[in-house]
Symmetry: C2
DNA sequence: CAGAAACTTGGACGATCGTCCCAGTCGAGA
DNA sequence: TCTCGACTGGGACGATCGTCCAAGTTTCTG
C-alpha cells in the first residue's frame, strides 16, 4: 500500500462506510468491515480517525450534504404552461425515480438519520437536514408559482412541509412495498391535493376567490 | 427466582426487549441487556428462545400487532355535521397525540420496521403491516364519507395511501423536529388537501361537479 | 544529505457479543 | 411418596468488537 495522505484516506474510508451502510446497514459498518471495503489494513483506521464515533459523525454529515446535492437539481423546471399540480407531480416523480435508481442508498440514509437522532451529539444534524429540505422545496414551490402565474393561498412554508412529509412517506412506502404504479398514483393524488392550496392569480373572475382559513 | 412457565418468560422477555428498543435502540437489545431488563439470569434466554434472531422476529410481530391495536380505536368518530377535512384533521391530530404521548415507542417502531426490512425472513411482516394500515385508514375514510354525506372522487384506496404516507411523514417530522405547532399545521394542511379529493353527495347543484381525471 | 515528520502495519489488549453445557432445584402426576 | 419432566442458573466457549502500541518505511524539509 503506497503512501497516501491522511485526508485522502478519510474520504476513502467514508465512501467505503457509506457503501456498507447502504448494502448491509449501519450495524455492519464496523471498523474492520470499513477498512476491508476500502482495501486498507486495520491500523489505518485509527491513524486517520480518533474513534469509530468520529467516523460515524463525519459519515452523517457527508451523507446529508450529498443527499441535499442530489435532490436540489431535481426540483427545477422550465415549463410555464402547466398547472401547479402538474409541476409538483413532476417533481415527486423525479424524486421517486432517484429513489428507485438507488434504493439501498436511500434506505441507508433513513438508517443514518435514525442513528443520528439517537446520539445527542449528532441529533442537530438531522434537524438541520429537515430544515434545509423544507427550504429547498419552498423555493421550488415559489418558483413554480411565479412561473405559471399561480399563487399559494396558505403560507408556502406549510405547503413545503406537507410536500416534504409526502415525499418522505412516499419513499418509505416504496421501500417497503416496492410497487411502482402504487407510488406513482400516490404522487398523483398528492400533487392534486397540493394544488388545492393554490389558485390562478391573473384572471380576476376566478371561482369564489376567497382565501382559505 | 421462582418457577415460571416458559411461555410467561417469553412474554416478559419480549416486553423487556420492547422497552430497550424504545429507550436505547435496536442495537442495544442484546441478550444480556434483555434478561437484565427482565430481571432474569442469562441462561433463561436460551431456555425459551432458540436464538437471538428468534426473539427479534417475535418482537417485530408483537410490536406490529400492538401498534395496529393502538391505532385502530383512534380513527372512529360519531360526528356527522362536519366536513371530511375536519374529520381527517381530527384523526391526524389524535394519531399525533398518541405519538407525542410515547415518542420513544414510535421511534422504536420505525427502527424495528427498518430492521425487519433488512432480513429477508421478516421483510414480509413490514409489508403486511403497511397493507393493514392502509386498509384501516380506508375503512375509516369510507365510514367518514358515509356518515357526513360526502363521497370520494378518486378511488378511496388511493386517498388512504396518501393519508398513510402523510401520517408517516408527519411522524418522522415530529420525531426529528419536535415542533407541536408545526406538526399541527401540517395536519391541517394535509386534511384540507385530502378534502380536495372529496365532494358533497346530496346537493345536485354543487360546484361544477365533474369527476377528477 | 541528515534529521524530522508523516505514513504503514502486524499483532495484541480487554470488553462484549451469542450460544451452550450441565449440575442443581422445583412441582405435578402416578 | 417417588419420579420424571420442567425449570434454574453459574460459568465458560469462541467470535468479534473498538482501540492501541511499537517498530518499520517513506517522504518532506532545511
Amino acid at each position: 500500500m503506497p503512501h497516501i495522505p491522511a485526508a485522502e484516506r478519510r474520504e476513502a474510508l467514508i465512501a467505503a462506510a457509506l457503501r456498507i451502510v447502504a448494502r448491509d446497514g449501519v450495524a455492519a459498518a464496523t471498523t474492520r468491515a470499513v477498512v476491508a471495503e476500502a482495501g486498507m489494513p486495520l491500523a489505518s483506521f485509527h491513524y486517520v480517525f480518533g474513534s469509530h464515533d468520529e467516523l460515524m459523525t463525519e459519515l452523517i454529515q457527508h451523507a446529508i450534504t450529498e443527499e441535499y446535492r442530489s435532490i436540489a437539481p431535481l426540483l427545477g423546471s422550465e415549463v410555464t404552461e402547466a398547472t401547479i399540480g402538474e409541476l409538483v407531480y413532476q417533481g415527486l416523480v423525479r424524486y421517486l425515480d432517484s429513489v428507485k435508481a438507488d434504493p439501498e442508498r436511500e434506505r441507508g440514509m433513513l438508517e443514518l438519520t435514525q442513528y443520528a437522532l439517537r446520539d445527542p451529539g449528532t441529533a442537530h444534524l438531522a434537524r438541520t437536514q429537515y430544515e434545509r429540505y423544507t427550504e429547498l422545496v419552498q423555493m421550488a414551490l415559489e418558483a413554480a408559482a411565479g412561473r405559471t402565474g399561480w399563487r399559494w393561498r396558505v403560507p408556502v412554508v406549510e405547503v413545503a412541509r406537507m410536500v416534504v412529509a409526502i415525499a418522505d412517506g412516499m419513499t418509505v412506502s416504496w421501500l417497503v412495498r416496492g410497487d411502482d404504479a402504487e407510488s406513482l398514483a400516490l404522487a398523483r393524488s398528492a400533487a392534486r391535493a397540493v394544488e388545492a392550496h393554490a389558485a390562478r392569480v391573473a384572471p380576476a373572475s376566478e371561482p369564489a376567490g376567497e382565501e382559505e382559513r
